[in-house]
């Protein structure tokens, strides 16, 4: 294999990394705030909302992400809803990951001692002031480690999008391997994933440190 072709193949696989990162960023940006919002809904006293969110997290955590991708990309067109592979991937990932983040934030909020609510109330703070200023900032610190876990899983899950023809890392690697019969490109892909996860891990280490100013 000539050097020129190697560069081309490498570049082609790297272009898949750009696509994967697009899905990644969209998912993080939308599903974290959604998860936070849904978590508050899950802790509200409004029963119908509670059941709705309970059903939502059950459905999206209880079925394979791959199935959800298939449904959104191949299934929804039967109902007249057609997405490009990239949009289908983003939509599915945001909804799926928001379900996990909902549970993480719910647990984080519930882990805050009831004394914090009582102190805030005794000082005259209302519910939204208490949540915004006292409870959520403290739960954020506690959910950083599980969020980091999900954030690492997410970049690897983007590989599933190869099944809906999204030209991401794995899809591009596969087509190169089958074209040139060289399995070394799998190692190349693995290195890309490792580099990205290394960055994610460092970001979360930084966040943990940033929130480490108090105990």
């Amino acid at each position: 294999m000539s050097t020129e072709i190697m560069y081309q193949v490498g570049g082609f696989i790297l272009s898949g990394a750009v696509v994967a990162i697009k899905v990644y960023v969209a998912t993080i940006v939308f599903s974290i705030p959604l998860g936070m919002l849904f978590a508050m809904g899950k802790l509200s006293r409004c029963k119908p909302l509670l059941w709705l969110l309970e059903g939502y997290t059950w459905l999206f955590r209880g079925t394979p992400l791959l199935l959800q991708l298939f449904f959104v990309y191949y299934g929804l067109p039967y109902y007249g809803i057609v997405f490009t592979p990239l949009i289908a991937a983003c939509v599915t990932f945001v909804i799926n990951y928001a379900a996990y983040f909902t549970e993480i934030f719910r647990a984080g909020i519930q882990s805050i001692d009831s004394g914090q609510y009582e102190a805030a109330k005794a000082l005259g703070m209302n519910y939204s002031q208490t949540m915004r200023r006292i409870i959520l900032p403290q739960s954020l610190k506690r959910v950083i480690p599980p969020l980091g876990n999900e954030a690492v899983t997410l970049i690897k899950d983007t590989a599933l999008c190869s099944a809906i023809t999204l030209p991401e890392i794995l899809k591009n690697t596969n087509s190169m391997v089958t074209t040139y019969f060289e399995i070394k490109w799998y190692f190349f892909a693995a290195v890309i994933y490792l580099v990205i996860t290394l960055v994610i891990i460092q970001v979360f280490k930084y966040l943990e440190k940033k929130f480490g100013y108090y105990r």
């Binding site: 004394g115 009582e118 805030a120 109330k121 005259g124 209302n126 108090y214 105990r215």
Partner: protein
């Protein structure tokens, strides 16, 4: 002038009658201690006053304005709206057994939080009040520290300052020294004594009998959700008539 008045207060936790008809009226500048065995309903009673617990029956009023009013037919406590309750209850300062400082905020931020957010004070105003209070409780040098860096006694003094920062008309103390190591109790009691000298209106739930005798105008002995005896410290603590108080005092000695 009557600051707080409670009539016929009842509270049940499932089948357990925690409060069985409490009546109490506290005048401005009065210092009332509530003593009694564990599970007698002292803390629950105190927590009903600022709506950390909801009473089932009876009335609670603050300066003659009802927070909860007893329904004349059913005796049920009918509360005013949550918003109104909050605006009344921020006039009642509360100090908890477990301090409940905000761990993510420094000492000064703990003190300015509610004055700024609830009372809409500017940061400068709030910090001025906070710094004066920190001086009063002897913790000016801990201004920028975080709660985890403080001893239990220091935490509780910050908690007292935090409650005072809201300029309350009455202070409620829920066993303020029960979570402290013995050698740290004194510094907290000292701060409360100082407030007593300034005639801050206070209701104190405590197990510190000597302290209660020393600073209270009135001592209330509660048992099984009822006020068993009430009177001056001499009447209740020094020469108790009631056998249940005698037994209790012998136990805690």
């Amino acid at each position: 002038m009557e600051v707080i008045s409670v009539q016929n207060l009842h509270k049940k936790f499932r089948d357990l009658e925690v409060l069985q008809g409490i009546n109490l009226s506290v005048q401005k500048g009065e210092i009332v201690s509530i003593i009694g065995p564990s599970g007698s309903g002292k803390s629950t009673f105190l927590r009903c006053l600022n709506h950390l617990e909801t009473a089932d029956k009876g009335s609670i009023s603050f300066h003659g304005n009802y927070i909860a009013k007893e329904d004349s037919k059913t005796n049920k406590a009918i509360y005013i709206s949550n918003k109104e309750i909050l605006s009344v209850c921020n006039k009642l300062g509360m100090v908890f057994q477990n301090f409940n400082l905000f761990p993510h905020k420094s000492v000064i931020e703990n003190l300015v939080e509610a004055p700024m957010i609830v009372n809409k004070k500017t940061r400068a105003e709030a910090e001025k009040i906070a710094d004066d209070l920190l001086k009063k409780v002897g913790l000016s040098q801990k201004r920028e520290s975080y709660p985890f860096e403080l001893s239990g006694g220091q935490k509780q003094r910050v908690a007292i300052a935090r409650a005072l920062a809201m300029e309350p008309e009455i202070m409620l103390f829920d066993e303020p020294t029960s979570a402290l190591d013995p050698e740290l109790i004194g510094e907290v009691l000292q701060v409360i004594k100082q407030l007593a000298e300034e005639r801050m209106t206070m209701i104190i739930v405590t197990h510190e009998m000597n302290f209660a005798r020393e600073i209270s105008d009135r001592v209330i002995f509660m048992d099984h959700g009822e006020i068993v005896a009430e009177g001056t410290p001499e009447q209740v603590l020094v020469n108790p008539e009631h056998p249940r108080i005698k037994t209790f005092l012998n136990l805690v000695k």
